[in-house]
Amino acid sequence: MKIVTAIVCATLFAAEGKTYFTQQEALQEIWGEAELTSEQYSEHTFYMSQESTDDSSACFISKRVRSKGQSLMLHVAADGTIIDLVVCHFGEPVRYKAPLRFYQQFVGKKLNDDLRLKRDIDGVSGATLTSRATVASVRDILEAHAEK
C-alpha cells in the first residue's frame, strides 16, 4: 500500500478525442481532496480514501473501441456492487459514444455471468464497439476487485 499524493493521467489518455475528467478530477468527484491510498490487484490499481468508512474503491481502465480508446473509472462498493461508472476519455468520434442511459445500466450491478451484452446489458445500435469495450472494461475491473 502506498500514499497517493498526485495522479497524472498523461500515460493513460492519448491526446486525441475528448477528455472529460483526468484521473485526479474523477477521484475528486468521489472523495474531494481526501488523501488516497492504492492497492494493486491483477494489474489494476484500486484507489481508496483514508477518510472514507464505506471501504469503496475506484479503478481506471482503458480499452480500444475501434482504433482509439475509451477510458473509464469504475467506483465499486466493498461487496462488488457498482456505485458509478464515469467516462473519463473517449478517443473515437463523438458519434460512436454511447448515450448516458447505456452507462447508467451498470450502476447497482455486480459481477456475474449475466453482466454481458444481450443479457443484463442492452447494447447500443451504432455504437456496438463502444458497448462491447465498456462491458469488457467493467468485467475486467470487477474480476480484479473480486480478488480483494
Partner: protein, 336 residues
C-alpha cells in the same frame, strides 16, 4: 536524429484512426439477371489534430469501379452538449444514412424506404452543430440544396443527391434531428430536411425556374433489449411543383414505412449471433408505383465484426412499373 524521427512518426501515428467495412452480395432476382457484386469496400481514416479538432472521412469503392467520398469532415468537439461539424457530411436522417455498417443491420440490402424516400446514403457539403444532453441528442446542419434531377416515380429522391461533387449551391437546405434514449433499450427520434432545389448544369434546364421546395420528414423508434430488437420508421417526402420538374412527377408526395423485428438465438454468447428476422415494408412513389415488400431472413455473426446474411424477399405491386418478384439475396459483410 533517427530516434527523434521515430518518436515523431509514432506520435503522428497515435493520432491516426483507421477502419472500414464492406459488402459482397449475390442476388437471385426473380425477373432480372442474377448478380454477384463487390457492392462496397469502404475505408475510414481519421486524424486527431488535438483534443478539440479532428478529421474523419470515409472513402467508398462501389461495384469495383466507382469511388465516392461518403464523408470528409472536421469536427470541433467542444463539449458533449455543443460541437461543430463542417465539410462533407452525412445527413442525419433515418436509421441507415449515418450508421450503415453491414454488421448493424440484418438484411442483405437496406430497407427500400431508406433508399427511395430517404435517399441513403445521402451526403452533401455543409456545416452545423451537434451534441448530447443526458439522453437527448441533436444535430442541425446547413447544406447545399438538392439537384432537381428527381425521377420520383422511378427512384424517389435519389436523383436529387449531389454527393458533394461540384455541387450546385445556389439554393441551400437545412436538416435537423432529435433523438431521445427513453430507456437503455428504447430510442425515439425524428428528423427533417427542408430546402430548395438547384438546377445543375447537366440537367435539362427548367424553363419555368419554379422553386421546387423539398421537404423530407421521418420518425423512428427502436426497442433493442436482450436478444430482441424491433425498429420502425415512417418517412414522407414532398416536392413542390413536382409536375414541372425536368422529369415531371404525377405527385408532389411520396412516403413509406417499415417494421422489422428479430430475435438473436445465440444471445447467451456475446461473441456470436444468429438472428432470424422479418420485415414488412410499404412505399408509395406516387401514381401507381405502390409496393409491398416482405422480407424473411437470417443473419449469422461468427464474430461480431463479420456477418453472413440470407434474405427471401417478396415484392408485390398491383400496377407498378416493376413486376412482382421473389428474390433471394446473400451478403457477406464486415466492419472493423
Amino acid at each position: 536524429m533517427i530516434l527523434s524521427l521515430i518518436t515523431i512518426t509514432l506520435s503522428a501515428a497515435a493520432q491516426i484512426s483507421f477502419g472500414g467495412y464492406g459488402e459482397v452480395s449475390y442476388r437471385n432476382v426473380g425477373n432480372a439477371t442474377d448478380t454477384f457484386d463487390v457492392h462496397r469496400i469502404v475505408l475510414y481514416t481519421g486524424y486527431g489534430f488535438d483534443e478539440t479538432y479532428s478529421f474523419n472521412s470515409e472513402i467508398e469503392f462501389e461495384h469495383g469501379d466507382e469511388i465516392h467520398v461518403e464523408f470528409a469532415q472536421i469536427d470541433g468537439n467542444y463539449s458533449d452538449a455543443f460541437n461543430i461539424r463542417a465539410g462533407h457530411i452525412l445527413l442525419p436522417m433515418g436509421f441507415m444514412n449515418e450508421t450503415h455498417e453491414p454488421t448493424t443491420f440484418w438484411s442483405a440490402k437496406r430497407p427500400l424506404v431508406e433508399r427511395y424516400i430517404i435517399p441513403s446514403t445521402w451526403h452533401e457539403n455543409g456545416a452545423g452543430v451537434l451534441g448530447t444532453a443526458g439522453n437527448l441528442s441533436w444535430q442541425a446542419y446547413l447544406v447545399n440544396g438538392t439537384d432537381d434531377g428527381f425521377d420520383m416515380q422511378k427512384n424517389g429522391l435519389r436523383g436529387g443527391r449531389q454527393g458533394g461533387e461540384k455541387a450546385a449551391a445556389e439554393k441551400m437546405g437545412v436538416t435537423a434531428r432529435l433523438d431521445y434514449q427513453a430507456t437503455s433499450g428504447l430510442l425515439i427520434g425524428a428528423a427533417i430536411y427542408s430546402g430548395s432545389t438547384n438546377n445543375k448544369g447537366d440537367d435539362v434546364v427548367d424553363p419555368t425556374e419554379l422553386d421546387h421546395h423539398v421537404q423530407v420528414v421521418e420518425a423512428h423508434v427502436q426497442y433493442d433489449s436482450g436478444p430482441f430488437r424491433v425498429r420502425a420508421l415512417f418517412a414522407n417526402a414532398s416536392v413542390e411543383n413536382a409536375d414541372q420538374l425536368p422529369e415531371a412527377s404525377v405527385t408532389d408526395d411520396i412516403d413509406g414505412w417499415y417494421v422489422e423485428a428479430g430475435y438473436d438465438l445465440l444471445s447467451g454468447d456475446e461473441n456470436l449471433s444468429l438472428t432470424p428476422f422479418v420485415r414488412a415494408e410499404q412505399y408509395d412513389l406516387g401514381g401507381e408505383e405502390q409496393y409491398n415488400v416482405n422480407v424473411l431472413g437470417l443473419a449469422f455473426q461468427p464474430n461480431m465484426n463479420v456477418i453472413y446474411k440470407l434474405d427471401f424477399q417478396n415484392i408485390t405491386s398491383e400496377k407498378g412499373i416493376l413486376a412482382d418478384s421473389n428474390n433471394i439475396e446473400f451478403t457477406l459483410g464486415w466492419s472493423f
